[in-house]
């Protein structure tokens, strides 16, 4: 993670603030910083989204490809994550400097999306055993201001919501070779259901308390963080993966507190994100996108 130098007195101030449930910027332990979301801003991607969480800036593009299914799971489609830690975020990411962080994020997302209950891979299947959709989810980190896992998962879910798969209108079978005919109409497309797509919630342990949405300074004060992957099903939050980051240790009671807080926050975030994505779809409409992008 991008390192921020802090003095011992500053860490003490942050620690006491967490104990008082009043952080340096006035938030409580359960509060998120304001987020700014836009979808559909990369025109040559099947789906895209940009999320800005205070100082953290994430751009996600989704590209689609027709591929042969995995022989072990012939009825499933494929999902692949790639994270690019741009050196624009911090000069330490130059060259191979960001590969450790990128690998950690990729493993987090793969772990979260692994279960078919968390992501419905069947919707990506075209012909069982022969043809399926493969989604490449490319994540570009433009700024690091703390809490990368949450921002990345929110942006990825928004990009999947925005993804449009061309409709397959006909299938030709000739001597064992399958050929697909895809509709020419750019509005004739199917959307991916994102109800169960998981979100990552970083729960950070500082002192004896746990908090969500740590800023870069708070991440320096923390000894251990737990990334909780939350998937919503039938209006209920389910755990679809966890992992610990940081070198510290965690008591069992603290771990239980982290899981409870992560599930509650994940549920809240999921509802909020779904509401805002639907609102944006209503306002923008399907035909004439009004892109703000990196302007303003």
């Amino acid at each position: 993670m991008a390192y921020v130098a802090l003095s011992e007195a500053e860490k003490t101030y942050i620690l006491h603030g967490v104990e008082d449930d009043f952080r340096c910027d006035g938030r409580s332990r359960r509060d998120y910083r304001p987020m700014d979301l836009e979808t559909g801003l990369v025109s040559n991607a099947s789906g895209s989204a940009r999320l800005r969480l205070a100082n953290t800036d994430i751009l996600v593009g989704v590209k689609t490809e027709i591929d042969v299914p995995n022989p072990l799971t012939p009825e499933f489609g494929k999902l692949e994550f790639f994270v690019d830690c741009s050196a624009n975020a911090t000069p330490e990411f130059e060259g191979r400097g960001g590969s450790d962080l990128a690998q950690e994020l990729i493993l987090s997302l793969q772990n979260a999306y692994e279960s078919p209950l968390a992501f419905n891979y069947r919707t990506l299947c075209l012909i069982p055993g022969q043809q399926c959709w493969k989604l490449y989810i490319d994540i570009l980190i433009l700024e690091c201001g703390g809490n990368l896992h949450d921002a990345v998962s929110l942006a990825a879910k928004a990009a999947l919501f925005n993804t449009k798969l061309p409709r397959v209108t006909a299938t030709m079978l000739d001597a064992g070779i399958t050929d697909l005919i895809i509709s020419d109409n750019p509005y004739d497309c199917t959307r991916i259901g994102i109800e169960t797509v998981p979100l990552l919630v970083t729960v950070c342990k500082i002192g004896d308390y746990v908090l969500v949405d740590p800023s870069a300074e708070e991440e320096v004060c923390s000894t251990v963080s737990m990334v909780v992957s939350v998937s919503m099903r039938n209006g209920q939050a389910f755990l679809s993966g966890t992992h610990l980051t940081g070198g510290g240790a965690m008591h069992r009671d603290t771990m239980r507190n982290c899981l409870e807080l992560g599930l509650a926050i994940g549920e809240h975030l999921d509802r909020l994100l779904t509401k805002m994505l639907n609102l944006e779809q209503q306002r923008v409409g399907l035909k004439r996108p009004q892109i703000v992008g990196f302007l303003k």
Partner: protein
């Protein structure tokens, strides 16, 4: 317990240029390569170069004329030190007889062991024992307030602590803004009436800390750290609100000095401290503060 989380759409993004449009006179902004003046009779200053008997701008900024000296002041730049500036700096390295310090300038600044005060104002020559105890006083990551003593030829700064008012900083919050936004004034240490102390470093680092009631004459120099002391919640709320107000001023590109900070703080009292992170609140505070500053000037 409730959770505060807000996801705004990019369609609702605030247009920050509206604030600049409310200023009455817009100064002429020169871009690199633009002709400022014929060379005859004028002297070239910072931000300019001479070509084809013309003085041209080498940075994007506004022109400044002092008699026959022509210079261009860029709108956004790294900190360029001047002798006597008060800065807030972070220690990045401890070397043999000095500390290497980050002051948001082009190069790391230097704080010599002979330039810091000894505990209690003791006056004597530094010895080898003092060299061995350097890390005990200032470690990597520590914050100090100091003055610029000298500027070396290659452009790095030499800092010193002129009195016990300067030195190591204790509990508080550091806010980083562009150095051009901090107004150049005589007084940089302010005890605001809302109950917090602010150090406005000329390098854009602003330190906010609780006001010490036991204001001894001359201060302590930062030798006695109060890590066991718990900052009360009321002070903490003031500091968080001040931090968010200063960031709002920086976001709206308004000059930061004691009056504008005080006005921004007063305008922020109608919001909760965590609501000041929203862009609508930031825009409102910037607008109201700008109006109050304009009224105060008339």
């Amino acid at each position: 317990m409730s959770t505060n989380a807000a996801i705004d759409l990019a369609l609702d993004r605030v247009d920050w240029r509206d604030l600049a449009a409310q200023t009455e006179e817009q100064p002429r902004v020169y871009t690199p390569g633009e002709v400022l003046m014929p060379e005859a009779g004028f002297m070239r200053g910072h931000g300019t170069f001479v070509e084809d008997e013309n003085i041209k701008s080498s940075v994007a900024g506004v022109i400044q004329k002092v008699n026959k000296l022509i210079s261009v002041r860029p709108l956004k730049s790294r900190y360029v030190g001047e002798i006597g500036d008060v800065v807030v700096a972070r220690v990045s390295e401890v070397q043999q007889k000095r500390w290497r310090v980050d002051t948001n300038s082009r190069l790391d600044s230097i704080l010599l062991l002979s330039s810091v005060n000894l505990p209690g104002g003791e006056l004597r020559r530094r010895s080898a024992e003092d060299e061995q105890m350097m890390r005990r006083y200032l470690d990597e990551g520590d914050l100090i307030s100091a003055e610029v003593q000298n500027i070396f030829e290659e452009g790095s700064l030499s800092l010193y602590t002129r009195s016990l008012k300067y030195g190591k900083l204790s509990q508080g919050i550091l806010v980083k803004v562009f150095p051009a936004l901090v107004k150049r004034r005589k007084m940089h240490f302010h005890n605001l009436p809302c109950g917090a102390s602010v150090i406005l470093g000329n390098n854009g680092y602003i330190w906010i800390s609780p006001t010490k009631g036991q204001e001894e004459e001359g201060g302590e120099g930062g030798f006695a750290q109060n890590l066991n002391e718990h900052v009360p919640r009321a002070d903490r709320e003031v500091i968080a609100r001040l931090r968010n107000s200063i960031l709002a001023l920086a976001k709206c590109k308004l000059m930061i000095y004691d009056t504008s900070i005080q006005y921004a703080y007063e305008e922020s009292l109608r919001y909760e401290a965590h609501e000041l992170l929203q862009q609508n609140a930031i825009y409102d505070i910037g607008q109201q503060t700008q109006a109050r500053l304009r009224d105060a000037d008339e």
